[in-house]
């Protein structure tokens, strides 16, 4: 019985179910901060899927860059917008832990899945057989794909300058 559950496929399907539910909650959400929490859970679930597909480097990047950096950028922007009236209407301040329950439940489910995948020896053995590790990615990235890396750096520089330019207060005026 437990053997049929203890497979990579089952964990993958459960993690993808978490990702789909969290994405649905993101799209249908009323409150921006709650939707952001569900977006974090969705990205973490997709990271678990990456790990199970034999791409631990991509899973780490997903957690660090997506769930870490980009989502923090979202939080900063929401803080700058300030909560307007309809947000306060949709998010009464007093319901406490109830609003956190959904994302926390999904995240705990993900943690259980990941711990199960890490501690189970058979799954680990199957995962290490078909892994594409960071070394192969690095060799390819700075070999044939070097031009793409340079272009990506140009793109990031353009994003930096455009972000600075558009978010700058009007009153300073003038340069750039």
């Amino acid at each position: 019985m437990i053997e049929s559950f203890a497979s990579i496929e089952t964990i993958f399907y459960l993690a993808s179910l978490v990702a789909i539910i969290a994405s649905l909650k993101v799209v249908t959400g009323k409150n921006t901060v709650h939707a952001l929490l569900y977006l974090v859970v969705s990205l973490l679930a997709v990271a678990v899927c990456f790990y199970l597909m034999g791409a631990p480097f991509a899973a780490g990047l997903e957690v660090i860059v997506y769930a870490g950096a980009i989502l923090v950028l979202f939080v900063f922007a929401i803080m700058m917008f300030g909560l307007t009236k309809d947000e306060l209407h949709y998010a009464p301040q007093s319901n406490g832990v109830l609003t956190w329950l959904g994302p926390i439940g999904l995240a705990v489910l993900l943690l259980v899945l990941l711990l199960f995948a890490i501690t189970n020896g058979e799954i680990q053995h199957k995962l290490t057989v078909n892994i594409v590790d960071a070394k192969q990615v690095g060799i390819l990235l700075y070999g044939p794909y070097l031009l793409a890396v340079e272009i990506a750096s140009f793109l990031l520089l353009a994003g930096l300058i455009a972000g600075y330019h558009y978010a700058k207060p009007d009153v300073t005026g003038g340069h750039l």
Binding site: C49, L141, A152
Partner: protein, 102 residues
């Protein structure tokens, strides 16, 4: 060949992409549109990683890294534009943007 069938991973990518696309089309709050765009880009990343692991090549992960930089640049510019919009119009409703002429 990876333990997970390529078809199932691609189905997951399709579902996530559809959810994000519906969000982009349906929502009027521009912040939610940006979040749905994130979901869509993420779904594309799932498709690339699945294909890369099916053929055991690192190219899929490289495309994922490029998508990651694209998403970072897109979010930076998009959120800066939203801050400008909030400052000018006092709303994030995308229908207000049709007041812009030219």
């Amino acid at each position: 060949m990876s333990a997970i069938p390529l078809t199932h991973a691609l189905i997951l990518a399709c579902i996530l992409f559809s959810i994000g696309f519906v969000g982009v089309i349906v929502r009027k709050n521009t912040l939610f549109i940006l979040m749905s765009l994130e979901v869509m880009l993420n779904a594309v990343g799932v498709a690339f990683i699945a294909a890369g692991s099916a053929w055991k090549q690192a190219d899929g992960q490289i495309m994922f890294i490029l998508i990651l930089t694209l998403a970072a640049a897109e979010v930076a510019v998009g959120l800066a534009l939203l801050i400008r919009m909030q400052r000018k119009h006092r709303t994030l409703d995308i229908d207000k943007l049709n007041e812009m002429r030219g």
